[in-house]
């Protein structure tokens, strides 16, 4: 729920991603890990893109990450975000893990720089966002 009473769009929950979505509701970032080749993947998929195995389990990631690049979105895709611009949309590299697109929350977007260290929002703050969301480690 946001200021203008619009709900954020949410991921389509299915049997492939439900464990991921449920974990983030508790502030936990889960990645798929392949039982055959051991590689971790984001976003959740029905098969491992490296070896095509469907033997996929889950591993927790602590959310420590580096901001690779970003844009400051003034024209978001949905009205729920209109009063929150700029949306900081980033490509982030999880430490020892895959890269992902993620939103970064920062009261002062001028402080955002490529290369910044990031961490997950604390569970209480994070759960209002539909997907794992990060903040700078300041």
């Amino acid at each position: 729920m946001t200021h203008n009473d619009q709900q954020y769009p949410t991921p389509r929950v299915d049997q492939i991603n439900s464990a991921f979505v449920e974990a983030w509701a508790e502030g936990v970032l889960r990645l798929q890990v392949c039982g055959a080749c051991g590689q971790e993947t984001f976003y959740p998929r029905p098969l491992c893109p490296h070896c095509w195995s469907s033997d996929l389990g889950w591993t927790e990631h602590d959310g420590k990450a580096t901001l690779v690049s970003y844009s400051l979105v003034m024209r978001p895709n949905h009205p729920a975000f209109f009063e929150e611009t700029p949306i900081i949309l980033a490509e982030i590299a999880l430490r020892d893990g895959p890269t992902m697109l993620a939103r970064v929350i920062c009261d002062d977007p001028t402080q955002i720089r490529s290369g910044l260290l990031l961490e997950l929002l604390p569970a209480e703050e994070g759960k209002k966002y539909p997907l794992p969301t990060f903040r700078p480690v300041l």
Binding site: R12, S69, S71, M74, R75, N77, F81, E91, L101, S114
Partner: protein
């Protein structure tokens, strides 16, 4: 892939472009197709192959459109590579003709979008963006390509002033094109100071979604008089390169570049015009690098040293491109091809590139989780 030197593009057509579709998509596709058949000097009954590229077409497809069009076909093709699809459709049409599966193929690309339709498209483009882009407020393609542009700027020192030369010169080209939706004057200052959309992307980095369609006829070159056929010297496509990278600074053109020029017998310095896929200036810049017009990371200086108007040092998107004409969905992947054919037939009017003999056209598209998954290029020569 080496192409038969006897097969090429013998006709082209396009619709008018409109900001809001006032009629069904199928009528746009038919209008472009009818123009192309007429430009080739053929009759509808001569067409025995149909290739379609259109995001909004499903649940219809190439075969159901054949029924709507009253065409009897021995070959049908539906593009799946977004803005790279129309060039791929021409390459596939040539192979179909070489294999005897068809004699004359009509290739059409178009959509009937407006701005809100484009956001709906991007929200539902694929499972990945619907579930893992939209919930972040990602701003559609603008947000994704903002990430790529910033990475290029920070990695190689590319500046907005340099990239702006593409938008500004293409606008000058559009001023010679009555079909272009955006024909007002634009200076580099206008470009630099335009409204921020997804920093570093600003308004004049973005295309205007619209309705329209483009078409070509592929057949034996001996069906048209000398100078009216355009030979396809070589062409390639590539998909999902590099796997697993979200915001790559390369698109896949670099993988087939050497083969493309080897097959054609020509390289970057031999082209009289280039039609690059211009969803954003940063992707034009990356294409110029990947296709060998300059070294990787050197495009900023290349942009400063060249001019891109129809009478410039490197005539680029000589009709104004998608940035000034508008982006008719998948039609954006054929607008450059049609403009190249128009130029090589010496039918481009006030924006005609002097004595145009050879051109390079490239495509890009199918935005997945972060970037376009598909690339294509084709080398054309006046017959």
């Amino acid at each position: 892939m080496t192409q038969s030197r006897d097969i090429g593009v013998i006709g082209y057509g396009c619709t008018d472009y409109v900001k809001k579709a006032d009629r069904p998509l199928l009528t746009f596709l038919a209008q472009a197709g009818r123009d192309a058949i007429a430009s080739a000097g053929l009759e509808k009954s001569d067409i025995d192959g149909l290739a379609l590229c259109s995001f909004e077409l499903p649940p219809d497809n190439a075969v159901t459109v054949a029924e709507q069009f009253g065409l009897s076909l021995s070959w049908a093709y539906l593009g799946t590579a977004g803005g790279a699809g129309p060039i791929a459709s021409v390459l596939n049409a040539i192979r179909a003709i070489e294999a005897g599966q068809a004699t004359s193929v009509l290739c059409i690309a178009g959509d009937a979008y407006d701005v809100s339709g484009l956001f709906r498209l991007l929200d539902n483009f694929g499972r990945a963006l619907t579930s893992y882009g939209s919930p972040h407020g990602f701003g559609g393609a603008n947000g994704l390509f903002g990430i790529i542009q910033r990475k290029h700027m920070e990695t190689y020192g590319t500046t907005r002033e340099q990239l702006g030369r593409i938008s500004v010169d293409q606008r000058k080209n559009a001023q010679k094109n009555e079909a272009a939706l955006l024909r007002g004057p634009m200076t580099l200052d206008d470009y630099m100071n335009a409204r921020v959309i997804a920093d570093p992307i600003r308004l004049y980095d973005c295309v205007l979604p619209c309705a329209g369609a483009e078409a070509v006829v592929v057949s034996s070159l001996d069906r048209v008089p000398r100078g009216k056929g355009v030979r396809v010297l070589s062409g390639y496509e590539h998909h999902n390169h590099p796997p697993g990278e979200i915001s790559p600074l390369r698109g896949g053109w670099e993988l087939f570049r050497d083969a493309l020029y080897r097959d054609a017998g020509y390289g970057p310095e031999d082209f009289d015009l280039v039609q690059a896929y211009d969803d954003y200036p940063i992707m034009v810049a990356i294409q110029l690098e990947d296709l060998g017009f300059c070294e990787k990371g050197g495009v900023g200086r290349f942009l400063e040293k060249n001019s891109f108007t129809w009478d410039g040092t490197l005539p680029l998107n000589t009709g104004g491109g998608q940035l000034s004409v508008g982006q008719s969905g998948a039609g954006g992947g054929m607008i450059g091809l049609v403009e190249a054919v128009r130029q090589l037939r010496h039918e481009a009017g006030e924006r005609q590139v002097s004595n145009a003999q050879r051109g390079l056209v490239s495509g890009y598209g199918m935005v997945g989780y972060g970037h376009g998954l598909s690339t294509s290029s084709i080398v054309l020569e006046r017959s």
